[in-house]
């Protein structure tokens, strides 16, 4: 932008110095600056000078020494720097960009977090009233329209497959730990896949020497279930709405953290009533 019109700051200083009749050495001495730098300054050769901060400072000092308006000279230089942008340290490259890049995702992330927080705040209020009642139908609705009949069969066949395996293991009776694993596997499979009604007849289990506990949970509940040998069959917090089947040797010893969470409890198909169903009370029970 009209470089020719502007008197370069170094040149302006040189003219003023010459007018005062000083040599460069003399001026350099007064400025406490090396003569090389002074010459570079007068020649406006900024490549040979340090960072813009220094150059601007030198120019200011030099102009003041020569009786020139220091700020004006320094500003001319500043404008040149801004136009040419030859000197990186002044603007610390890439800095202005980064915050902009960083800023936008931050806004999005914060919005997402806000939505998440709102969801967390309002979710339990909606679902706690209806609880398991709403959840179960939703699951049914999702699966039933397409394969409501199919669903029963695979389950039964799975159980059917598992049972012979179980009994075979029982017959072998070689490793107790294997028995537990097998028992738990069966239980896990049934937990996940069995539909509402307990379809397996207890007689079949009885023939294997096993008993079955069925628990229907209406709320999250911690429990521990052990079989006759004291082996832990279930332990931990079970979620609301879970229909749990536990197979093992009776008598079972149950420890239930929240009696009110058990909506139904069956032992080999027979209803068992808990001694209490007040919320938060712990039940220790041996069945039968």
């Amino acid at each position: 932008m009209s470089d020719k019109m502007v008197v370069l700051p170094g040149e302006r200083c040189r003219k003023a110095r010459e007018a005062m009749g000083w040599t460069t050495a003399e001026a350099a001495k007064r400025m406490h600056l090396s003569q090389t730098y002074l010459l570079a300054l007068e020649a406006d050769d900024y490549e040979r000078l340090p960072e813009a901060t220094f150059v601007k400072g030198y120019l200011k000092n030099y102009a003041r020494l020569l009786g020139l308006p220091a700020d004006e000279v320094a500003n001319t230089f500043q404008q040149m720097v801004n136009e040419d942008a030859f000197d990186k340290p002044l603007e610390l490259p890439s800095l202005p960009r980064k915050p902009a890049l960083l800023g936008r995702p931050l806004v999005w992330v914060s919005l997402l977090v806000l939505i998440g927080v709102l969801a967390v705040i309002f979710w339990p209020q909606g679902s706690s009233e209806t609880g398991s009642d709403t959840l179960a139908p939703v699951e049914e609705m999702a699966e039933e329209p397409e394969q409501s009949e199919d669903i029963e069969q695979p389950v039964e066949s799975e159980v059917g497959e598992a049972e012979p395996f179980e009994s075979a293991m029982a017959d072998v009776d070689a490793e107790p730990s294997a028995e537990i694993d097998a028992g738990q596997e069966v239980a896990d499979v049934t937990d996940e896949t069995v539909a509402e009604e307990p379809a397996v007849d207890p007689d079949m289990l009885a023939s294997n020497g096993l008993d079955r506990l069925v628990l229907d949970l209406s709320a999250d509940c911690w429990m521990e279930i052990r079989d006759a040998n004291g082996r832990v069959l279930r332990q931990g917090v079970k979620p609301a709405g879970a229909l749990m089947r536990v197979d093992g040797k009776a008598p079972f010893s149950l420890k239930i953290g929240n009696a009110a969470a058990i909506s139904e409890l069956f032992l080999n198909g027979e209803v068992v009533t808990l001694p209490t169903d007040s919320p938060g009370s712990v039940v220790n029970l041996t069945l039968p």
Binding site: H32, T53, Y58, K60, N61, P89, L106
Partner: protein, 345 residues
């Protein structure tokens, strides 16, 4: 967790918590606050409440009735009154966040004098947390000043910065993002004011307040003889007569008054140069040293240092805001390049 969410709506701040002025720099917005570090406290019996902070409180300094005390919670660059500093920071942080929806929880970078003790640093950190900051980083003042002045701190090249603040003068030799040598003398603008008060009392037998002394310093103060001689009319209470009297001071007299504190600063600079490793000393001899801070505005202070040391001395652009701007840049660098120059977490 809540703090983090609030943090999303807050901006990163760089705070120059100075003895005389507190400056806050916000990324992308520049300097957003520059107010005196003064708090006016109103007493209701045993209860205390904040009456004013910043410029309003400064006007009250030395002019308060019995139930209000205007205090400067920072002294010599460190916290003298913890609770009041916390209140002040809280006020300032709130003032720069005018969104109002969430209480602000910004990340804050605070500058500390390089010779401050661990206890003093901890106090500053705690008061920033107390004022609602989410994260507090501390940076040594001369480092921030050097970055703010645009010195090449990251290069393997010595840069010397002399930061003359209100309470302290910090001199540091910086190379490769680290402080090689630092020197801190508890002499700054406040001591200049005190020296002027003492001088006027001695020479004119009159008592002037510190605000008046500061005004004198700003208007006619000079650090090196040979400049234009200026005059100022001031009024003070004559000690002998007990009534206010008017008299005229000139810059020569003020130079005389400031001789002692200025000599101490020159001495500290010389000590720093003496302690510099030779390679770095030669870098400084070649390019010179840079003055920042409010003290740089004292007329001809660069000439004084230049003549005394025989080195080129330059005054940074906008010396008052160097530290705050440098702190802001350090915060940016920290994010973008994992920049590691913060004194401690």
């Amino acid at each position: 967790m809540i703090k983090r969410i609030r943090g999303m709506f807050s901006t990163d701040l760089s705070i120059d918590l100075g003895t005389a002025n507190t400056l806050i720099y916000v990324r992308g917005r520049g300097i957003v606050l520059d107010e005196p570090s003064v708090v006016a406290i109103r007493h209701h019996g045993a209860q205390k409440s904040v009456a004013a902070v910043g410029a309003d409180a400064k006007r009250m300094l030395g002019r308060t009735p019995g139930n209000i005390t205007a205090i400067r919670p920072m002294k010599d660059g460190v916290i003298a009154d913890f609770d009041v500093t916390e209140k002040m920071l809280q006020y300032f942080i709130k003032k720069v966040h005018d969104t109002g929806f969430f209480p602000p929880a910004p990340r804050v970078l605070v500058c500390v004098p390089c010779k401050s003790t661990q206890v003093e640093r901890r106090a500053i950190q705690d008061s920033a947390y107390g004022a609602g900051a989410r994260d507090v980083y501390l940076i040594e003042e001369p480092m921030a000043a050097a970055i703010g002045a645009g010195l090449p701190v990251e290069e393997a090249r010595g840069s010397m910065v002399v930061d003359i603040g209100g309470g302290t003068t910090e001199i540091a030799l910086i190379s490769l993002n680290g402080v090689v040598y630092s020197e801190s003398v508890r002499i700054g603008g406040d001591r200049f004011d005190e020296a002027i008060v003492a001088f006027v009392r001695k020479e004119y037998g009159s008592l002037i307040g510190e605000s008046t002394a500061e005004r004198i310093k700003h208007e006619i103060g000079t650090a090196y003889p040979g400049g234009e001689i200026r005059e100022i009319d001031v009024r003070g209470r004559n000690l002998a007569e007990g009534v206010p009297r008017s008299f005229t001071l000139n810059s020569e007299e003020i130079l005389e008054a400031l001789k002692e504190p200025l000599a101490a600063i020159v001495n500290a600079v010389k000590n720093a140069l003496e302690a510099s490793p030779p390679e770095l000393a030669s870098d400084i001899a070649e390019r010179g040293l840079v003055i920042t801070g409010g003290g740089a505005l004292l007329r001809d202070i660069d000439r004084l240092l230049s003549e005394e040391t025989g080195l080129p001395v330059i005054i940074a652009d906008d010396p008052l805001t160097c530290v705050a701007r440098g702190g802001g840049k350090a915060l940016e660098l920290m994010d973008s390049q994992g920049f590691d120059m913060l004194a401690m977490g």
